[in-house]
Amino acid sequence: MITQVTIFLENDNGRLAEAVRVISDAGLNMRALFLADTATFGLARIFCDKPQVAVEQLTAAGLRASATSVVAVRLPDQPGALAHLLEFCDSRHFSIEYGYCFTVDDGSAIDVLKINNPEVEEALVEEGFALVSPEEVYDL
Protein backbone atom coordinates (compact mmCIF):
# COMPACT_ATOMS: atom_id res chain seq x y z
CA MET A 1 0.00 0.00 0.00
CA ILE A 2 1.11 3.52 -0.63
CA THR A 3 -0.14 6.66 1.01
CA GLN A 4 -2.01 9.23 -0.98
CA VAL A 5 -3.02 12.65 0.35
CA THR A 6 -6.68 13.55 -0.19
CA ILE A 7 -7.75 17.17 0.16
CA PHE A 8 -11.37 18.26 0.42
CA LEU A 9 -12.02 21.43 -1.61
CA GLU A 10 -15.03 23.70 -1.51
CA ASN A 11 -16.47 24.47 -4.89
CA ASP A 12 -15.07 27.99 -5.02
CA ASN A 13 -12.45 30.03 -6.84
CA GLY A 14 -8.88 29.65 -5.70
CA ARG A 15 -9.34 26.69 -3.39
CA LEU A 16 -6.96 24.37 -5.24
CA ALA A 17 -4.40 27.13 -5.59
CA GLU A 18 -4.49 27.67 -1.87
CA ALA A 19 -4.09 23.98 -1.10
CA VAL A 20 -1.09 23.45 -3.37
CA ARG A 21 0.50 26.64 -2.05
CA VAL A 22 0.41 25.13 1.45
CA ILE A 23 2.16 22.01 0.16
CA SER A 24 4.74 24.07 -1.65
CA ASP A 25 5.39 26.29 1.37
CA ALA A 26 6.05 23.15 3.39
CA GLY A 27 8.87 22.34 0.97
CA LEU A 28 7.15 19.22 -0.37
CA ASN A 29 7.32 18.09 -3.96
CA MET A 30 4.23 16.68 -5.63
CA ARG A 31 4.73 13.75 -8.04
CA ALA A 32 1.17 13.51 -9.26
CA LEU A 33 -2.18 15.23 -8.73
CA PHE A 34 -5.69 14.15 -9.74
CA LEU A 35 -8.96 15.96 -9.32
CA ALA A 36 -12.41 14.58 -8.71
CA ASP A 37 -15.17 17.12 -9.13
CA THR A 38 -18.82 17.01 -8.12
CA ALA A 39 -21.49 19.67 -8.37
CA THR A 40 -20.83 20.94 -4.87
CA PHE A 41 -17.27 20.10 -3.90
CA GLY A 42 -14.02 18.69 -5.22
CA LEU A 43 -11.36 16.29 -4.05
CA ALA A 44 -7.68 16.57 -4.89
CA ARG A 45 -5.63 13.39 -4.65
CA ILE A 46 -1.91 13.91 -4.45
CA PHE A 47 1.29 11.90 -4.35
CA CYS A 48 4.13 13.71 -2.66
CA ASP A 49 7.34 12.74 -0.94
CA LYS A 50 6.14 13.16 2.67
CA PRO A 51 2.38 12.50 2.80
CA GLN A 52 2.03 12.66 6.63
CA VAL A 53 3.77 16.05 6.71
CA ALA A 54 1.48 17.26 3.95
CA VAL A 55 -1.64 16.22 5.89
CA GLU A 56 -0.37 17.93 9.03
CA GLN A 57 0.43 21.16 7.21
CA LEU A 58 -2.88 21.21 5.34
CA THR A 59 -4.85 20.57 8.54
CA ALA A 60 -2.96 23.29 10.36
CA ALA A 61 -3.88 25.66 7.53
CA GLY A 62 -7.57 24.97 8.14
CA LEU A 63 -8.15 22.53 5.29
CA ARG A 64 -9.63 19.08 5.55
CA ALA A 65 -7.00 16.54 4.43
CA SER A 66 -6.47 12.86 5.06
CA ALA A 67 -3.88 10.19 4.34
CA THR A 68 -5.43 7.35 2.38
CA SER A 69 -4.00 3.93 1.58
CA VAL A 70 -4.21 2.94 -2.09
CA VAL A 71 -2.74 0.21 -4.25
CA ALA A 72 -0.32 1.19 -7.04
CA VAL A 73 0.55 -1.31 -9.75
CA ARG A 74 3.31 -0.96 -12.33
CA LEU A 75 2.24 -2.10 -15.80
CA PRO A 76 3.88 -2.00 -19.22
CA ASP A 77 2.77 1.07 -21.18
CA GLN A 78 1.00 -0.88 -23.89
CA PRO A 79 -2.56 -1.63 -25.11
CA GLY A 80 -4.52 -4.09 -22.95
CA ALA A 81 -2.39 -3.80 -19.81
CA LEU A 82 -5.01 -1.92 -17.82
CA ALA A 83 -7.84 -4.10 -19.13
CA HIS A 84 -5.94 -7.14 -17.92
CA LEU A 85 -5.56 -5.67 -14.44
CA LEU A 86 -9.21 -4.64 -14.16
CA GLU A 87 -10.45 -8.00 -15.45
CA PHE A 88 -8.42 -9.72 -12.78
CA CYS A 89 -9.94 -7.45 -10.06
CA ASP A 90 -13.39 -8.19 -11.41
CA SER A 91 -12.77 -11.95 -11.42
CA ARG A 92 -11.91 -11.72 -7.70
CA HIS A 93 -14.87 -9.41 -6.96
CA PHE A 94 -12.65 -6.55 -5.78
CA SER A 95 -14.78 -3.45 -6.17
CA ILE A 96 -12.94 -0.32 -7.12
CA GLU A 97 -13.94 2.90 -5.39
CA TYR A 98 -11.90 4.98 -7.82
CA GLY A 99 -8.71 4.78 -9.82
CA TYR A 100 -6.39 6.70 -12.10
CA CYS A 101 -3.31 6.05 -14.23
CA PHE A 102 -0.21 7.91 -15.35
CA THR A 103 2.90 7.04 -17.27
CA VAL A 104 6.40 7.53 -15.98
CA ASP A 105 9.74 8.19 -17.68
CA ASP A 106 10.94 4.57 -17.86
CA GLY A 107 8.07 3.74 -20.22
CA SER A 108 5.86 1.99 -17.72
CA ALA A 109 2.45 3.03 -16.43
CA ILE A 110 1.39 3.37 -12.80
CA ASP A 111 -2.22 2.41 -12.10
CA VAL A 112 -3.58 3.53 -8.76
CA LEU A 113 -6.67 1.86 -7.33
CA LYS A 114 -8.71 2.43 -4.19
CA ILE A 115 -10.04 -0.98 -3.22
CA ASN A 116 -11.52 -1.59 0.23
CA ASN A 117 -10.36 -5.16 0.65
CA PRO A 118 -7.39 -6.23 2.81
CA GLU A 119 -6.57 -9.20 0.54
CA VAL A 120 -6.07 -7.24 -2.65
CA GLU A 121 -2.30 -6.79 -2.49
CA GLU A 122 -1.54 -10.42 -1.81
CA ALA A 123 -3.83 -11.52 -4.65
CA LEU A 124 -2.16 -9.14 -7.11
CA VAL A 125 1.33 -10.32 -6.19
CA GLU A 126 0.29 -13.96 -6.52
CA GLU A 127 -1.05 -13.20 -9.97
CA GLY A 128 2.32 -11.71 -10.93
CA PHE A 129 1.50 -8.01 -10.90
CA ALA A 130 4.30 -5.66 -9.85
CA LEU A 131 3.30 -3.46 -6.94
CA VAL A 132 4.90 -0.08 -6.52
CA SER A 133 6.56 0.45 -3.14
CA PRO A 134 6.17 3.70 -1.22
CA GLU A 135 9.86 4.64 -1.76
CA GLU A 136 9.47 4.20 -5.48
CA VAL A 137 6.39 6.32 -5.92
CA TYR A 138 7.64 9.21 -3.79
CA ASP A 139 10.82 9.37 -5.88
CA LEU A 140 9.34 8.82 -9.32
Binding site: T6, F8, E10, T38, R45
Partner: protein
Protein backbone atom coordinates in the same frame (compact mmCIF):
# COMPACT_ATOMS: atom_id res chain seq x y z
CA UNK B 1 -44.64 12.54 44.67
CA UNK B 2 -46.16 16.00 44.96
CA UNK B 3 -45.35 19.02 47.09
CA UNK B 4 -48.86 20.54 47.05
CA UNK B 5 -51.02 17.66 45.77
CA UNK B 6 -54.35 19.47 46.12
CA UNK B 7 -53.10 22.26 43.83
CA UNK B 8 -50.86 20.28 41.48
CA UNK B 9 -53.56 17.73 40.66
CA UNK B 10 -56.56 20.08 40.84
CA UNK B 11 -59.23 19.26 38.22
CA UNK B 12 -58.96 21.57 35.18
CA UNK B 13 -62.33 23.28 35.65
CA UNK B 14 -61.58 24.10 39.28
CA UNK B 15 -58.18 25.38 38.28
CA UNK B 16 -59.74 27.62 35.61
CA UNK B 17 -62.12 29.04 38.24
CA UNK B 18 -59.21 29.74 40.55
CA UNK B 19 -57.27 31.38 37.72
CA UNK B 20 -60.16 33.65 36.80
CA UNK B 21 -60.74 34.74 40.37
CA UNK B 22 -57.04 35.42 40.92
CA UNK B 23 -56.66 37.20 37.60
CA UNK B 24 -59.47 39.61 38.51
CA UNK B 25 -57.84 40.33 41.86
CA UNK B 26 -54.50 40.86 40.20
CA UNK B 27 -55.95 43.23 37.58
CA UNK B 28 -57.65 45.15 40.37
CA UNK B 29 -54.26 45.44 42.07
CA UNK B 30 -52.69 46.63 38.78
CA UNK B 31 -55.42 49.17 38.09
CA UNK B 32 -55.48 50.61 41.61
CA UNK B 33 -51.75 50.73 42.27
CA UNK B 34 -49.74 50.97 39.03
CA UNK B 35 -50.18 54.08 36.98
CA UNK B 36 -48.96 52.48 33.75
CA UNK B 37 -51.65 49.79 33.89
CA UNK B 38 -54.39 52.27 34.78
CA UNK B 39 -53.44 54.43 31.80
CA UNK B 40 -53.22 51.44 29.41
CA UNK B 41 -56.52 49.94 30.59
CA UNK B 42 -58.22 53.31 30.24
CA UNK B 43 -56.82 53.83 26.74
CA UNK B 44 -58.35 50.51 25.67
CA UNK B 45 -61.53 51.22 27.62
CA UNK B 46 -61.26 48.09 29.77
CA UNK B 47 -61.72 47.69 33.51
CA UNK B 48 -60.67 44.75 35.73
CA UNK B 49 -64.35 43.82 36.16
CA UNK B 50 -64.65 43.32 32.37
CA UNK B 51 -62.84 40.07 32.90
CA UNK B 52 -65.90 37.79 32.91
CA UNK B 53 -64.03 34.76 31.61
CA UNK B 54 -60.42 33.84 30.91
CA UNK B 55 -61.10 34.43 27.19
CA UNK B 56 -61.60 38.12 27.98
CA UNK B 57 -57.89 38.38 28.72
CA UNK B 58 -57.27 39.15 25.03
CA UNK B 59 -58.99 42.53 25.55
CA UNK B 60 -56.17 43.62 27.84
CA UNK B 61 -52.87 45.17 26.79
CA UNK B 62 -49.49 43.48 26.53
CA UNK B 63 -46.55 44.41 28.74
CA UNK B 64 -42.98 44.29 27.43
CA UNK B 65 -39.52 44.45 28.92
CA UNK B 66 -39.12 48.05 27.79
CA UNK B 67 -42.05 48.98 30.08
CA UNK B 68 -40.05 47.70 33.03
CA UNK B 69 -36.96 49.58 31.87
CA UNK B 70 -38.92 52.78 31.48
CA UNK B 71 -40.40 52.33 34.94
CA UNK B 72 -36.95 52.03 36.55
CA UNK B 73 -36.69 51.65 39.46
CA UNK B 74 -40.09 51.41 41.16
CA UNK B 75 -42.64 52.54 38.59
CA UNK B 76 -44.20 49.07 38.22
CA UNK B 77 -44.42 48.42 41.97
CA UNK B 78 -47.94 47.96 43.31
CA UNK B 79 -46.75 48.06 46.92
CA UNK B 80 -45.22 50.69 49.17
CA UNK B 81 -41.72 50.24 50.52
CA UNK B 82 -42.85 48.91 53.89
CA UNK B 83 -44.41 45.89 52.19
CA UNK B 84 -41.49 45.18 49.84
CA UNK B 85 -39.36 42.36 51.21
CA UNK B 86 -36.72 42.02 48.52
CA UNK B 87 -35.56 43.45 45.23
CA UNK B 88 -34.00 41.55 42.32
CA UNK B 89 -32.64 43.11 39.15
CA UNK B 90 -31.58 41.91 35.73
CA UNK B 91 -27.98 42.50 34.72
CA UNK B 92 -28.85 45.25 32.28
CA UNK B 93 -26.21 44.09 29.78
CA UNK B 94 -28.65 44.72 26.95
CA UNK B 95 -29.95 48.05 28.22
CA UNK B 96 -31.25 49.71 31.36
CA UNK B 97 -31.51 47.27 34.27
CA UNK B 98 -34.99 46.13 35.26
CA UNK B 99 -35.93 46.05 38.92
CA UNK B 100 -38.53 43.69 40.29
CA UNK B 101 -39.92 43.75 43.84
CA UNK B 102 -41.27 40.93 45.98
CA UNK B 103 -43.47 41.02 49.08
CA UNK B 104 -43.10 38.36 51.76
CA UNK B 105 -46.07 36.52 50.21
CA UNK B 106 -44.45 36.71 46.74
CA UNK B 107 -41.30 35.11 48.14
CA UNK B 108 -43.32 32.39 49.84
CA UNK B 109 -45.12 31.55 46.60
CA UNK B 110 -41.77 31.46 44.81
CA UNK B 111 -40.41 28.94 47.30
CA UNK B 112 -43.54 26.80 46.80
CA UNK B 113 -43.20 26.86 43.01
CA UNK B 114 -39.58 25.74 43.12
CA UNK B 115 -40.31 23.14 45.82
CA UNK B 116 -42.76 21.45 43.42
CA UNK B 117 -39.78 20.77 41.16
CA UNK B 118 -37.85 19.30 44.07
CA UNK B 119 -40.76 16.87 44.54
CA UNK B 120 -40.64 16.09 40.79
CA UNK B 121 -37.14 14.69 41.29
CA UNK B 122 -38.27 12.79 44.40
CA UNK B 123 -36.76 15.24 46.87
CA UNK B 124 -38.27 15.74 50.33
CA UNK B 125 -37.35 17.01 53.81
CA UNK B 126 -34.64 14.35 54.01
CA UNK B 127 -32.89 15.65 50.90
CA UNK B 128 -29.81 17.81 50.72
CA UNK B 129 -29.87 20.40 47.95
CA UNK B 130 -26.72 22.18 46.84
CA UNK B 131 -27.43 25.55 45.26
CA UNK B 132 -24.62 26.43 42.87
CA UNK B 133 -26.45 29.23 41.12
CA UNK B 134 -25.01 32.65 41.86
CA UNK B 135 -26.57 34.38 44.86
CA UNK B 136 -27.34 38.05 44.54
CA UNK B 137 -29.46 40.25 42.31
CA UNK B 138 -29.71 37.27 39.92
CA UNK B 139 -32.77 35.23 40.85
CA UNK B 140 -31.18 31.77 40.47
CA UNK B 141 -29.45 31.36 43.80
CA UNK B 142 -32.05 32.76 46.16
CA UNK B 143 -34.93 31.23 44.16
CA UNK B 144 -33.57 27.71 44.41
CA UNK B 145 -32.62 28.40 48.03
CA UNK B 146 -36.23 29.39 48.83
CA UNK B 147 -37.45 26.18 47.19
CA UNK B 148 -35.12 24.04 49.27
CA UNK B 149 -36.20 25.78 52.47
CA UNK B 150 -39.90 25.49 51.60
CA UNK B 151 -39.48 21.74 51.15
CA UNK B 152 -37.54 21.51 54.41
CA UNK B 153 -34.38 20.27 52.70
CA UNK B 154 -30.88 20.78 54.01
CA UNK B 155 -29.68 23.62 51.81
CA UNK B 156 -25.98 24.04 50.96
CA UNK B 157 -25.64 27.59 49.59
CA UNK B 158 -22.32 27.15 47.79
CA UNK B 159 -23.25 29.75 45.17
CA UNK B 160 -21.18 29.55 41.97
CA UNK B 161 -17.38 29.41 41.72
CA UNK B 162 -14.57 27.47 43.42
CA UNK B 163 -15.54 24.35 41.56
CA UNK B 164 -13.21 21.92 43.35
CA UNK B 165 -14.74 22.89 46.65
CA UNK B 166 -18.20 22.39 45.11
CA UNK B 167 -17.20 18.83 44.26
CA UNK B 168 -15.77 18.20 47.71
CA UNK B 169 -18.93 19.49 49.44
CA UNK B 170 -21.07 17.47 47.07
CA UNK B 171 -19.21 14.30 47.99
CA UNK B 172 -18.60 14.89 51.70
CA UNK B 173 -22.04 16.32 52.57
CA UNK B 174 -23.96 13.78 50.50
CA UNK B 175 -25.72 16.20 48.14
CA UNK B 176 -28.89 14.64 46.68
CA UNK B 177 -29.91 17.45 44.35
CA UNK B 178 -27.77 20.00 42.52
CA UNK B 179 -29.31 23.27 41.31
CA UNK B 180 -27.34 25.44 38.87
CA UNK B 181 -27.02 26.38 35.19
CA UNK B 182 -26.47 23.47 32.75
CA UNK B 183 -23.04 24.72 31.73
CA UNK B 184 -21.95 24.92 35.35
CA UNK B 185 -23.35 21.44 36.03
CA UNK B 186 -21.17 20.12 33.21
CA UNK B 187 -18.13 21.90 34.60
CA UNK B 188 -18.79 20.46 38.07
CA UNK B 189 -19.17 16.96 36.59
CA UNK B 190 -15.96 17.29 34.55
CA UNK B 191 -14.07 18.69 37.51
CA UNK B 192 -15.19 15.77 39.68
CA UNK B 193 -13.97 13.35 37.00
CA UNK B 194 -10.65 15.20 36.71
CA UNK B 195 -10.28 14.93 40.49
CA UNK B 196 -10.42 11.16 40.05
CA UNK B 197 -14.04 10.53 41.05
CA UNK B 198 -16.82 8.82 39.18
CA UNK B 199 -19.74 10.90 40.47
CA UNK B 200 -22.34 8.71 38.72
CA UNK B 201 -21.23 5.76 40.83
CA UNK B 202 -19.55 7.19 43.90
CA UNK B 203 -21.67 10.23 44.80
CA UNK B 204 -25.06 10.16 46.47
CA UNK B 205 -26.47 12.74 44.03
CA UNK B 206 -29.66 11.56 42.29
CA UNK B 207 -31.08 14.67 40.62
CA UNK B 208 -30.26 18.05 39.15
CA UNK B 209 -32.48 21.08 38.61
CA UNK B 210 -30.95 23.14 35.84
CA UNK B 211 -32.03 26.30 34.08
CA UNK B 212 -31.40 29.96 33.26
CA UNK B 213 -29.72 29.17 29.92
CA UNK B 214 -30.48 26.93 26.94
CA UNK B 215 -29.03 23.41 26.76
CA UNK B 216 -29.16 21.03 23.82
CA UNK B 217 -30.50 17.49 24.24
CA UNK B 218 -26.96 16.13 23.89
CA UNK B 219 -25.68 18.38 26.64
CA UNK B 220 -28.54 17.36 28.94
CA UNK B 221 -27.78 13.70 28.30
CA UNK B 222 -24.09 14.24 28.95
CA UNK B 223 -24.78 15.93 32.29
CA UNK B 224 -27.30 13.26 33.31
CA UNK B 225 -24.86 10.45 32.40
CA UNK B 226 -21.78 11.96 34.00
CA UNK B 227 -23.55 12.69 37.28
CA UNK B 228 -25.91 9.70 37.16
CA UNK B 229 -29.01 11.80 37.79
CA UNK B 230 -32.58 12.68 36.77
CA UNK B 231 -32.40 15.96 34.84
CA UNK B 232 -35.10 18.49 35.68
CA UNK B 233 -35.33 21.53 33.44
CA UNK B 234 -36.52 24.67 35.21
CA UNK B 235 -37.88 27.79 33.53
CA UNK B 236 -38.18 31.22 34.98
CA UNK B 237 -37.34 34.79 34.22
CA UNK B 238 -36.54 37.52 36.66
CA UNK B 239 -39.33 39.81 35.42
CA UNK B 240 -41.97 37.17 36.11
CA UNK B 241 -40.44 35.68 39.29
CA UNK B 242 -37.30 33.63 38.74
CA UNK B 243 -36.71 29.87 38.49
CA UNK B 244 -39.86 27.87 39.21
CA UNK B 245 -42.37 29.33 36.74
CA UNK B 246 -42.34 25.92 35.04
CA UNK B 247 -40.51 22.69 35.91
CA UNK B 248 -40.00 19.34 34.24
CA UNK B 249 -41.39 16.16 35.82
CA UNK B 250 -39.94 12.66 35.41
CA UNK B 251 -42.11 12.08 32.29
CA UNK B 252 -39.98 14.68 30.50
CA UNK B 253 -42.54 15.72 27.87
CA UNK B 254 -42.25 19.39 28.76
CA UNK B 255 -42.30 21.65 31.82
CA UNK B 256 -45.40 21.94 34.05
CA UNK B 257 -46.32 25.59 34.46
CA UNK B 258 -47.37 26.60 37.99
CA UNK B 259 -50.78 27.52 36.59
CA UNK B 260 -52.23 28.60 39.90
CA UNK B 261 -49.69 31.45 39.87
CA UNK B 262 -49.13 32.06 36.15
CA UNK B 263 -51.51 32.14 33.21
CA UNK B 264 -49.86 31.30 29.89
CA UNK B 265 -50.82 32.24 26.35
CA UNK B 266 -49.00 31.50 23.11
CA UNK B 267 -49.22 34.24 20.51
CA UNK B 268 -48.06 34.73 16.95
CA UNK B 269 -45.23 37.26 17.41
CA UNK B 270 -46.13 38.95 14.12
CA UNK B 271 -49.90 39.34 14.42
CA UNK B 272 -50.03 39.16 18.25
CA UNK B 273 -53.07 36.87 17.93
CA UNK B 274 -53.35 34.01 20.43
CA UNK B 275 -52.64 30.57 18.99
CA UNK B 276 -54.35 27.30 19.92
CA UNK B 277 -52.63 24.79 22.22
CA UNK B 278 -49.96 22.83 20.40
CA UNK B 279 -48.88 25.60 18.04
CA UNK B 280 -45.48 27.21 18.36
CA UNK B 281 -45.28 30.88 19.19
CA UNK B 282 -44.24 33.42 21.79
CA UNK B 283 -44.98 32.68 25.44
CA UNK B 284 -46.99 35.40 27.17
CA UNK B 285 -47.40 35.24 30.94
CA UNK B 286 -49.94 36.94 33.19
CA UNK B 287 -49.11 36.69 36.89
CA UNK B 288 -52.05 35.70 39.10
CA UNK B 289 -50.78 36.13 42.64
CA UNK B 290 -47.88 38.54 42.57
CA UNK B 291 -48.46 41.48 44.87
CA UNK B 292 -45.48 43.76 44.31
CA UNK B 293 -44.81 43.50 40.57
CA UNK B 294 -47.93 42.09 38.91
CA UNK B 295 -47.60 41.58 35.17
CA UNK B 296 -50.37 41.65 32.59
CA UNK B 297 -49.73 39.67 29.41
CA UNK B 298 -45.95 39.94 29.67
CA UNK B 299 -44.25 39.07 26.37
CA UNK B 300 -41.35 36.78 27.26
CA UNK B 301 -39.86 36.59 23.69
CA UNK B 302 -39.34 32.87 24.40
CA UNK B 303 -40.73 30.54 21.76
CA UNK B 304 -42.49 27.36 22.83
CA UNK B 305 -45.89 25.69 22.62
CA UNK B 306 -48.43 24.48 25.14
CA UNK B 307 -48.71 20.74 25.66
CA UNK B 308 -52.22 20.20 26.96
CA UNK B 309 -52.43 16.40 26.87
CA UNK B 310 -52.76 14.90 30.37
CA UNK B 311 -49.42 13.96 31.90
CA UNK B 312 -48.76 10.48 33.24
CA UNK B 313 -47.34 12.02 36.43
CA UNK B 314 -50.87 13.00 37.47
CA UNK B 315 -50.31 16.76 37.52
CA UNK B 316 -53.11 18.64 35.81
CA UNK B 317 -51.14 21.80 35.13
CA UNK B 318 -50.38 22.11 31.44
CA UNK B 319 -46.84 21.92 30.15
CA UNK B 320 -44.74 24.10 27.90
CA UNK B 321 -42.43 22.36 25.44
CA UNK B 322 -38.64 22.72 25.30
CA UNK B 323 -37.84 26.23 24.08
CA UNK B 324 -36.98 26.69 20.44
CA UNK B 325 -35.30 30.00 20.92
CA UNK B 326 -36.17 33.66 21.21
CA UNK B 327 -38.46 35.55 18.87
CA UNK B 328 -35.44 37.73 18.13
CA UNK B 329 -33.73 34.64 16.60
CA UNK B 330 -36.70 33.54 14.50
CA UNK B 331 -36.19 33.45 10.73
CA UNK B 332 -39.07 33.63 8.32
CA UNK B 333 -38.06 31.62 5.27
CA UNK B 334 -40.58 31.43 2.45
CA UNK B 335 -43.23 32.20 5.03
CA UNK B 336 -42.19 29.38 7.34
CA UNK B 337 -40.92 30.16 10.84
CA UNK B 338 -37.53 28.56 11.35
CA UNK B 339 -35.30 28.72 14.40
CA UNK B 340 -31.56 28.14 14.21
CA UNK B 341 -31.98 25.81 17.18
CA UNK B 342 -34.10 23.46 15.04
CA UNK B 343 -31.30 23.22 12.49
CA UNK B 344 -28.78 22.70 15.25
CA UNK B 345 -30.90 19.90 16.68
CA UNK B 346 -30.87 18.05 13.35
CA UNK B 347 -27.11 18.53 12.99
CA UNK B 348 -26.45 17.02 16.41
CA UNK B 349 -28.12 13.79 15.29
CA UNK B 350 -25.36 13.39 12.66
CA UNK B 351 -22.15 12.33 14.40
CA UNK B 352 -20.26 12.72 11.10
CA UNK B 353 -20.94 16.47 11.07
CA UNK B 354 -19.07 18.92 13.29
CA UNK B 355 -21.15 21.22 15.50
CA UNK B 356 -19.87 24.35 13.78
CA UNK B 357 -22.36 25.58 11.24
CA UNK B 358 -23.51 28.68 9.44
CA UNK B 359 -26.80 29.58 7.75
CA UNK B 360 -26.63 31.89 4.75
CA UNK B 361 -29.87 33.43 3.54
CA UNK B 362 -30.02 34.98 0.09
CA UNK B 363 -32.66 35.92 -2.43
CA UNK B 364 -32.84 33.89 -5.64
CA UNK B 365 -35.42 35.40 -7.95
CA UNK B 366 -38.59 35.80 -5.91
CA UNK B 367 -37.61 33.14 -3.38
CA UNK B 368 -35.55 32.92 -0.25
CA UNK B 369 -32.63 30.57 -0.58
CA UNK B 370 -31.11 28.83 2.44
CA UNK B 371 -27.59 27.53 2.39
CA UNK B 372 -26.32 25.57 5.35
CA UNK B 373 -22.56 25.36 5.66
CA UNK B 374 -21.23 22.45 7.63
CA UNK B 375 -17.96 20.59 8.06
CA UNK B 376 -17.32 16.90 8.42
CA UNK B 377 -15.70 15.63 11.61
CA UNK B 378 -11.91 15.23 11.22
CA UNK B 379 -12.09 11.42 11.13
CA UNK B 380 -14.77 11.24 8.43
CA UNK B 381 -13.41 9.43 5.33
CA UNK B 382 -13.43 12.42 2.96
CA UNK B 383 -11.56 10.39 0.37
CA UNK B 384 -14.72 8.86 -1.08
CA UNK B 385 -17.11 11.01 -3.08
CA UNK B 386 -19.89 8.48 -2.57
CA UNK B 387 -19.82 8.82 1.22
CA UNK B 388 -19.74 12.60 1.11
CA UNK B 389 -22.67 12.72 -1.30
CA UNK B 390 -24.59 10.24 0.80
CA UNK B 391 -24.02 12.28 3.97
CA UNK B 392 -25.15 15.43 2.20
CA UNK B 393 -28.32 13.79 0.92
CA UNK B 394 -29.27 12.31 4.27
CA UNK B 395 -28.76 15.63 6.04
CA UNK B 396 -30.82 17.48 3.41
CA UNK B 397 -33.67 14.98 3.70
CA UNK B 398 -33.69 15.19 7.49
CA UNK B 399 -33.74 19.00 7.42
CA UNK B 400 -36.52 19.07 4.87
CA UNK B 401 -38.70 16.80 6.95
CA UNK B 402 -38.03 18.77 10.15
CA UNK B 403 -38.27 22.33 8.83
CA UNK B 404 -40.56 21.99 5.80
CA UNK B 405 -38.04 24.13 3.95
CA UNK B 406 -35.48 23.06 1.35
CA UNK B 407 -31.97 23.63 2.57
CA UNK B 408 -29.00 23.62 0.23
CA UNK B 409 -26.12 21.94 2.01
CA UNK B 410 -22.61 23.03 1.37
CA UNK B 411 -19.79 21.01 2.84
CA UNK B 412 -16.99 23.40 3.61
CA UNK B 413 -13.39 23.42 4.70
CA UNK B 414 -12.84 23.88 8.42
CA UNK B 415 -11.48 27.39 8.08
CA UNK B 416 -14.54 28.70 6.27
CA UNK B 417 -16.66 28.90 9.40
CA UNK B 418 -15.14 31.35 11.80
CA UNK B 419 -14.41 30.04 15.28
CA UNK B 420 -15.27 32.46 18.01
CA UNK B 421 -14.77 32.44 21.75
CA UNK B 422 -18.02 34.14 22.53
CA UNK B 423 -21.34 33.96 20.76
CA UNK B 424 -20.84 32.51 17.29
CA UNK B 425 -22.43 34.24 14.32
CA UNK B 426 -24.65 31.45 13.05
CA UNK B 427 -26.93 33.30 10.67
CA UNK B 428 -25.91 35.60 7.84
CA UNK B 429 -28.94 37.20 6.25
CA UNK B 430 -28.13 38.65 2.82
CA UNK B 431 -31.73 38.77 1.56
CA UNK B 432 -32.69 41.87 -0.39
CA UNK B 433 -35.86 42.62 1.52
CA UNK B 434 -36.32 40.90 4.83
CA UNK B 435 -39.85 39.92 5.61
Amino acid sequence: MYYQPEIETMPRDELAQLQLQRMRESFENCYQNVELYRRRFDELGVKPQDLASLEDLTKFPFTIKQDLRDAYPFGMFARKNKDVARIHASSGTTGQATVVGHTAADLENWGDCFARGIAMVNGDANSTIQVSYGYGLFTGGLGAHAGGEAMGCTVIPTSSGNTKRQVQMMKDCGTDILACTPSYALLIADTAIEMGYNPAEEFQISAGIFGAEPASENMRQEIADKLGIQYCDVYGLSEVMGPGVAMECAERGGLHVAEDHFYCEIIDPETLEPLPDGEWGELVITTLTRECTPLVRYRTRDVTRIVSEPCACGRTHRKIDRFRGRTDDMLIIRGVNVFPSQIEQVITTFPEIATQYQIILTTKGPLDHVELRVETEPDFPIDEVRRLEDLRNRLAAELKSNLQVNVDIKLVEPKTIERSEGKAKRVIDLREAKN
